[in-house]
């Protein structure tokens, strides 16, 4: 007898240390159902899937609470291998294919058909010969099932990206008794027609009785194919509904929806911001940053503005500042206070009055083994030749000036440390971030770009950094671009917020725009032109 549910998640909770990432999550998936799981980055989607697959990261951090049931039976997989044996398959966002193997070999990998040989009779099954004919036949069958007409003999390396996704699906459905398929952001890298085709394939598979969990942030697709939608937010299932009972706006609202707590007081908005001269003019900027590709962004940012750039991870928002600073190959026009930035010249933006606080503070932002004071002063030394003492023949670093300045900064930004000579690597995340900010401020920039300034830091440091950004704008008239995944934070201090989706600006919104607008823009459902 068919069980009523293929997958049941019952009261699943999980915490990493003190951080509760899943709170009492329950849902179930019926055979032949496409069940959509939507949510922002960090909502808990990946953790949920890690639990389902028995990933070691879950076991290593103390397991989880609650039950996962497969076909009505309790399942607690020790490893992804066990999960696969039990009939769960996964189609990844990044392809897990071997480029040098043929399509058929990739589809049959780990489950090759073999025929016995002399050697295998003596030494065991591992030495059996590959039965290529059977493998090709199976592969062909799997490909036909999903309606893909590709030659199973070609190597994967040469295939277009869209095809690789289908090879991956074919591999999963070739498994003998596949019951449940998880699609993790499968359409992220596909073109529109490819995506449409993939959705068709999902429906075909579902019609065969396979249960499908569809993880995505593209709400349009969800509305088209899903039978039920669960919205995950901050580790909780806030709602489970049927697409016909709701609409895309409502789902978007649920996904983003939280009360905007004003983290800082930003009532002192400079007057005439609308008519202020343009400080940053970005025209058709393309940046080739792996994982954060920017595909033609155009923006005008006014002097004295705090301009937010938001969007989901991997959509390209991080690529924008990194391109401007010349850290990744970029093309397009960027003018800052009327001066064009030459991407070919290293550090050109720095010399034109831009300072950058990188999202990767440990990798790019800091010299972890050096002292706080050296980190703070270094940029100014390298870029502006400040903090040096002239000894006639040569100029040496002025320890006295550096120390003095560092002490000021430590006081100004409340950097908690044993002293300016403490190694930056031994500071907490929030204090490291403050050092990064101090280093940028030491350049006395006219334009300050902060990328993910609040990632992984405590609430106190968050508040202080954001307050300081507001103060900088009010007191020194610094123009600020803040790139962040935290919509709440963007909305609490920015004057305007550009939402980046798929490498381009989806929409520019005011901070008090409705939640649904933000949700829709982020999920790429409303890719309008730039205002």
């Amino acid at each position: 007898m068919e069980p009523e549910y293929i997958l049941q998640m019952e009261h699943v909770s999980k915490s990493y240390g003190d951080n509760l990432v899943l709170k009492d999550v329950s849902f179930n998936v019926k055979p032949g159902e496409i069940f959509a799981l939507v949510g922002e980055n960090g909502a808990g989607k990946s953790t949920l899937m890690n639990i389902l697959f028995g990933m070691s990261v879950i076991h290593n951090t103390g397991g989880f609470e609650g039950d996962v049931k497969l076909c009505g039976e309790k399942a607690n997989f020790a490893s992804p291998n066990d999960a696969m044996k039990a009939g769960i398959g996964m189609v990844h966002q990044e392809f897990m294919l071997i480029p040098g193997f043929t399509v058929a070999e990739n589809i049959k990998i780990g489950r090759e058909d073999t025929t016995p040989t002399l050697a295998s009779r003596v030494f065991g099954k591992t030495l059996e010969k590959l039965d290529r004919e059977q493998m090709n036949k199976d592969a062909k069958k799997a490909l036909d099932t999903i309606g893909m007409n590709i030659d199973e003999h070609v190597k994967v390396a040469g295939l277009p990206v869209g095809y690789m996704q289908f090879v991956e699906i074919a591999r999963e459905i070739d498994k003998a008794d596949i019951k449940l398929l998880v699609f993790d952001e499968p359409t992220a890298v596909l073109t529109e027609t490819e995506a449409a085709r993939l959705l068709k394939v999902m429906q075909t598979l579902a019609a065969k009785g396979i249960a499908i969990v569809f993880i995505t942030h593209r709400l349009g697709e969800v509305m088209d194919v899903a039978q039920r939608i669960a919205v995950l937010r901050d580790g909780e299932v806030v709602s489970t509904m049927k697409p016909e009972d709701t609409d895309i706006v409502k789902v978007a609202q649920l996904m983003v929806g939280r009360k905007i707590e004003k983290m800082v007081d930003d009532s002192q908005v400079p007057e005439n911001l609308d008519t202020a001269p343009v400080a940053v003019h970005i025209n058709k900027l393309y940046v080739d940053m792996p994982g954060e590709v920017v595909k033609g962004v155009s923006l005008d940012i006014r002097e004295g503005e705090i301009f937010g750039i938001g969007g989901l991870a991997g959509q390209g928002k991080i690529g924008i500042p990194n391109g401007i600073m010349g850290l990744f190959p970029a093309v397009g026009d960027v003018e800052i206070f009327g001066q064009k930035i030459a991407f070919s010249k290293l550090g050109d933006a720095l010399h034109k009055g831009v300072a950058f606080v990188s999202e990767d503070r440990r990798g790019v932002g800091l010299l972890l083994d050096e002292s706080i004071e050296d980190n703070i002063a270094f940029n100014a030394v390298a870029v502006k030749k400040e903090y040096l003492t002239n000894f006639g023949l040569t100029k040496l670093l002025s320890r006295k000036k550096i120390r003095e300045h560092a002490l000021n900064m430590i006081k100004l930004l409340d950097i908690r440390c044993t002293g300016p000579a403490q190694r930056v690597g031994s500071l907490s995340g929030g204090n490291q971030q403050k050092v990064c900010l101090a280093s940028a401020l030491t350049l006395h920039p006219r334009l300050l770009i902060v990328s993910e300034p609040t990632r992984g830091i405590d609430i106190g440091a968050k508040k202080l950094i954001m307050e300081h950004l507001v103060k900088l704008r009010c007191e020194e008239g610094v123009t600020i671009i803040m790139v962040s995944s935290e919509l709440v934070e963007l909305r609490s201090i920015c004057d305007r917020i550009a939402i980046v989706s798929d490498g381009a600006v989806a929409e520019i919104l005011l901070p008090d725009a409705p939640d649904a607008d933000f949700g829709l823009a982020m999920s790429g459902a409303r890719a309008k032109g730039v205002r």
């Binding site: 790019v364 932002g365 010299l367 972890l368 940029n379 390298a382 100029k395 670093l397």
Partner: protein, 362 residues
């Protein structure tokens, strides 16, 4: 001083250095017990300290600029040898005849010429070598080792065909090709060692040699405190950080390699004047290894090095070499044991230092 602060001091100094220092002391005591001349042994230790010091110092700019320990310092050594050979050639052509009345002055002038030429030739080599290293990022240690070997092989041919004619340099019968070892007796042998040198008991202090060593240490230290030096160190420790600060990482690496190579050139000239001979052909082949071992023993890592590591490391490594061999020979006088021991000890220390290099580095 409480137990914790003692522990901290030990930790800062590093266990490897404590072990090696104890070994050094043990050797000295053994030497005393078997009635060897400890005072003159100590003189040997100090002489070797100054003699090898600059070559070890050459490791610092390399490590700081991110190319790691410069096994290819051999390139600088070859450049220095060329400089010294040209100086010898000039002397035999009566280039320094104007100062003939004062032999010390002639020696001084000839070593200065040798040093200047060494710096120039080695710098040119260093720039090319730096450009090569920029193409093999990530495997500098292996590549530089083999570049060092290749240069030695190449120069083995060059020593035979270069048109040097000085009678002290070439084979006397064939009248062509440079000798294996060239005496500097008529040139600048020991000129710095004897400068202001004095005895404490039977321990000779080669003041000039040490002063030159310390002077170069100070210069390199000043360089690290300059803007360019700080930029170079940043490029070495975190290339992406440096790039974000608008620093051309490749150029900084070339700069570091060039300084390292030039110091290698200076180092070998100072070494030669103290030794009294120029050693050509395969002699420089393994010198890079002892330099790397010295600085690692001194507490540097393959990412981080300070002048203190140079001073301490050279003293320990070459101190042990200077004492261990005579002691061992004295204890077991048979055959060519000393040569075998030299190889075991020096390679053992290199191995030990390399195995420790990841975790160390303060």
């Amino acid at each position: 001083m409480g137990a914790t602060s003692i522990k901290k001091t030990i930790k800062n100094f590093g266990l490897p250095r404590i072990i090696i220092f104890s070994f050094f002391v043990l050797l000295m005591i053994t030497a005393g017990i078997i009635n060897m001349d400890v005072q003159s042994l100590m003189g040997d230790v100090i002489r070797r300290w100054g003699m090898y010091g600059i070559l070890v110092l050459a490791m610092v700019p390399g490590i700081q600029s991110g190319i790691g320990p410069n096994f290819g310092v051999t390139i600088g050594i070859v450049g220095g040898l060329l400089g010294a050979l040209i100086s010898v050639e000039l002397r035999s052509n009566d280039f320094f005849a104007a100062y003939a009345s004062n032999p010390t002055l002639v020696a001084m002038m000839s070593i200065l010429v040798a040093l200047v030429l060494a710096v120039i030739i080695s710098s040119v080599f260093g720039i090319l070598y730096g450009m090569l290293l920029n193409r093999v990022k990530g495997s500098e240690m292996t590549v530089s080792t083999y570049v060092g070997f290749s240069v030695v092989a190449l120069m083995n041919i060059m020593w035979l065909i270069l048109p040097f004619r000085s009678q002290t340099s070439i084979w006397p019968i064939a009248q062509e090709g440079l000798r294996n070892t060239i005496s500097l007796e008529a040139d600048f042998s020991n000129v710095f060692n004897n400068l202001l040198g004095f005895y404490i008991g039977r321990t000779y202090i080669p003041t000039g040699l040490l002063l030159m060593f310390f002077l170069l240490c100070v210069l390199v230290w000043l360089f690290t405190k300059s803007r360019i030096g700080a930029m170079m160190a940043a490029a070495g420790t975190n290339p992406i950080y440096a790039k974000a600060s608008g620093i051309n990482v490749n150029r900084m690496r070339i700069l570091g390699t060039t300084i390292s190579t030039a110091l290698g050139g200076v180092g070998i000239v100072m070494y030669a004047q103290s030794f009294g001979f120029l050693q050509l052909y395969n002699a420089p082949q393994m010198m890079g290894f002892s330099c790397v071992a010295s600085i690692l023993i001194g507490g540097a890592s393959i990412r981080k090095a300070r002048i203190f590591n140079v001073l301490l490391g050279t003293f320990l490594f070459h101190g042990i070499m200077a004492v261990a061999l005579p002691v061992a020979n004295n204890l077991i006088p048979e055959g060519n044991l000393s040569e075998i021991l030299r190889i075991i000890i020096s390679n053992g220390i290199i191995l030990y230092a390399l195995s420790k290099s990841k975790e160390e580095g303060k």
